[in-house]
Point group: C2
Amino acid sequence: MKEHKSHVRLPRRSKRSSSRPYTGSDDELPFGPSQACRCEHCAIRNRPKPTDEDNLRSTAMLRKVDAAVEKNFEETLVDLEDFVRLQSVSADLELIAESLKALCLYRDRLERMRFNIFEYNINAPRGACDTSPHPKVVFAHYFSSPSKNTILIYAYLDVAPAKFEDGWLSEPFEFYMNDDMLYGRGVCTGKGMAVCWLQAIEAWLELNDDLPINIKFIVEIMHAVGSVGLQHYLEVKREFFLDVDCIVFGNNSWINDDKPMMSCSLTGWAHFGLEMRGAAKTLEGGLAGGLVYEPMTDVCALMNSLVDNLHVLQIPAIQHMVRPTLVTEWALIESAIFSEYAYKEQFGIRRLRFELTKAELLHNRWCQSTMSMHGIEGCYSRKGSSMAMPMSVMAKFSIKLLPDQTVNLVHTHIEEFLRTKCEELKTRTNLKVHLLDSCDPSMWGLDARYSKALVRSISRVYQLEPDLSMNIVTCLPIASTFKKITAKPIILMPYAHRMDYSHVVNESIPKQCFLRNIKLCTGLVHELSLLPARCKCDVIFEYCNRQGIAEMLKPHTEKNLHRPTIFAHMRRTKSVKPRNQQPAEPDPNKRKNLRDWLCAPFRRKRMSTTK
Amino acid sequence: MKEHKSHVRLPRRSKRSSSRPYTGSDDELPFGPSQACRCEHCAIRNRPKPTDEDNLRSTAMLRKVDAAVEKNFEETLVDLEDFVRLQSVSADLELIAESLKALCLYRDRLERMRFNIFEYNINAPRGACDTSPHPKVVFAHYFSSPSKNTILIYAYLDVAPAKFEDGWLSEPFEFYMNDDMLYGRGVCTGKGMAVCWLQAIEAWLELNDDLPINIKFIVEIMHAVGSVGLQHYLEVKREFFLDVDCIVFGNNSWINDDKPMMSCSLTGWAHFGLEMRGAAKTLEGGLAGGLVYEPMTDVCALMNSLVDNLHVLQIPAIQHMVRPTLVTEWALIESAIFSEYAYKEQFGIRRLRFELTKAELLHNRWCQSTMSMHGIEGCYSRKGSSMAMPMSVMAKFSIKLLPDQTVNLVHTHIEEFLRTKCEELKTRTNLKVHLLDSCDPSMWGLDARYSKALVRSISRVYQLEPDLSMNIVTCLPIASTFKKITAKPIILMPYAHRMDYSHVVNESIPKQCFLRNIKLCTGLVHELSLLPARCKCDVIFEYCNRQGIAEMLKPHTEKNLHRPTIFAHMRRTKSVKPRNQQPAEPDPNKRKNLRDWLCAPFRRKRMSTTK
């Protein structure tokens, strides 16, 4: 724990006038009364400035928590093993039950830590007579106190398909550990990140019956298949996000082995539909062939006009909007670990674009806007052959957007270009350009308060300043979607290496790195607890008068300041069987006697998975 | 019936040596002993030449049959009404029961006429939990005598979708008749043709307990959706075709109101798959975008290179193989009835190709090879948007082939062209050209014996020589498929106008034309009965010793030469209810006592459909 001492930093405080109303921006908040709350007894408005003693006490607590994390590390690995063993491959509909098992396991762990649980069914598109269970998404909420910051953690428990035959050295769904590496499908993607958070929160609760911040969770099992159905609940359950201060995603952003890299920007996208219509309905090839102009032919011509031989988009104005890459960022890209040969080998690719230099290649991938063609709706796309001549087809292509591209401008450019080409080609079928889906790219300052909190955590854990970059953009569509719908600040926690290989075979993470990621979680909880909170009376009625777990426990903890906490006690007696008189955990939505439930013992022992 | 007299022609006889073995060609067969049959008592080999008296007797019979057809015409229209009323829309899976009703109705009529019935289930692709009944195909066989010719009639009973709202003047599925036109979905396509054959055969049977030829039927209800599943049974049930002399299709080939047009050629087709493969599996757009070359982009470029702005195939060699159109055929095309305006209006088309002159336009449609693009397999073709980058896609296009194009040569040209373009474009993804499905075009002489039989029938019914053309090619894929699989001669009976409108709204046929089509069927039966038959001992064991209905009835008919036939008798007493003691019609496959079944009365009264 020595390594931490030199890096403990106190939160910076705003020098601006405290009378300035809170604008919802990502900047530092002033201490002192918030303009938004008109409540006379607002605990948050009337909260005293934290003293140095407070800060030192909380830093000391963090050190204890981290020590507990180290002590429990063996158990953590058993936890990870439990999750890895479940073959939660979301792309395989037959394995949906395994994914649900993983979700239930995680949900039960959260529920034991006094999270309120909300489960929603995902109505993914499926066959009419498919009787397999519906996938679910879990929303969870630990409400400690209105005077604390609230973070939302996004976690997912599904993985990409994996088979031993693909070239794994061990069974992908059997957790395998050698001296310093952890192997198994999911260890450096969703499952690994989710287990880190679980351990961090459990460690906090064990040492201190309460958490220093409010935590919400969204846990899903459809991440690998585009988070089907989640967007619906993000839009419908907007009240869940009202009191959230920032959203935390784990992401794989390390680009070299030296130190973690912290991203401060997210890609956006614009999906276009290029619709050509030649007639009101599909015609029979035998009858109408040679008589009518075919939209498929025109679509191919237009799609072809968008790019040159080298697949470069022929609208320079769109590329010009992208922020130039800085010299430091070029240096970072140069240092990136990437084997062109291994990449090609893995996917069976013959040639890569820009393969002359590694930096050019990676720059094009990470720092350039690119176009992809996905398919054509309305055409004959099954196996075999058909005589049908589709008369209304829509080609789908998308452009990955980087800061400072905007959906609006790109849309205008694309539409103008296609209309001009249509004129040039004298197409006889009708063109319509649709914007099917879009999300602006986003970028936040390296000096935003959440970025700084993360930098402090990383520095404490790794004893290094992380690499910082705004122009090496992270592509994490689910984060962009959260940002678009909730407009909340985003924290991208560097978890592992860029996912060039991780998704494929021998997914692995160094043991030390995994431990540090848990400490990164505890550290982030600590750092966020130090940031000033604001009263959310402007969005939630009488927010500052709400009673959280902290308020309930207060008389209790004040009386027994040095008493071992409930959780620590339970850890020592965890071999004792749960008492029969322990009340069954009631449905959180109908919970009547909060005190009963609060004092229910926290059993750290994992639920056994079906082995 | 006067109109027929002047046109009765006796069959021509071959002047060639009768010792020449039968080669299976379409030419006239010699009378006299066949080389193929080594049977000592072969009735066919030892058959005497038909005398003039025989011919006159059979012509007189045809005249009686045609008189009966006229007399029964009102009942025929009621029959047609029964079929039109059934909404046998094969494109609508929910209406499959209606299609099956139509098929059962037809099957029962055939069974009553002593056809042997074989039913086969069509395993059309459908949803896993679809419990609707399977569509079926009916094979039927009336075997009169081994010494008679055998024809196979293809009939279908399904129709294209139709709704009153589409612009029909009457309900599409309610048969409507005004002074000289018959309206209703199906009257000038499958149902109309099928009812014509039913009436023609019933008229023959009524006047003469037996038919002058052997008739086989294939009746299906999936014609409008590409005859799904039928090809399987054509290939599996090859023994059904062994003794078939020719296959008769009704087709819509009239191109003007003046006279029927007789086609002597069928289009072929070549379906190509242009496969481009960039990597071993689909990649995620967000991760691999900008890094790899995308097959979709290359496919669009290659497809675009195949045609110019005006959608004309850029491989002149393919077009040069097509037989030139004769001056007489140009004149025929000039006389064609076709309203460009109505056509565009109907399908909501803005511009047609070659729309400067009608003749150019129709020539391009009927006499030119054309290319159509159908779709792309493996791409994202559903609604909405996707980030997936398909890495192995196959574009599908087809070329309609006309005589004298051949699949092999066209394939070679296409493959060579695409490989050259690939080199030019320097595509980095791998090209493969597949020939997915193909059928050579076919053409038969205007002086082939079956063509001549048809010309004689047409001339007798219409008092006109039909328009003949080999280069205005008929596109009837199911006929091409039969030709490809069975290699039997084809007769295309001109039934109605080219299907520019018929498939769409207000499908109709002149009443007189419908009546003449029935007479065309009876006439064709007569003409084919006059053609010399050959013994099929070379393909079917002891064929000439088989006992058909004619052999069974012979002692009976010889004794009572002037006795009214069973069928005529039944017509007079058809208001009498079927007697109870009448034996139930046994399963034709297990029929024991053939004589019992043969003498079962033939009830002409239709089965009532569910009204």
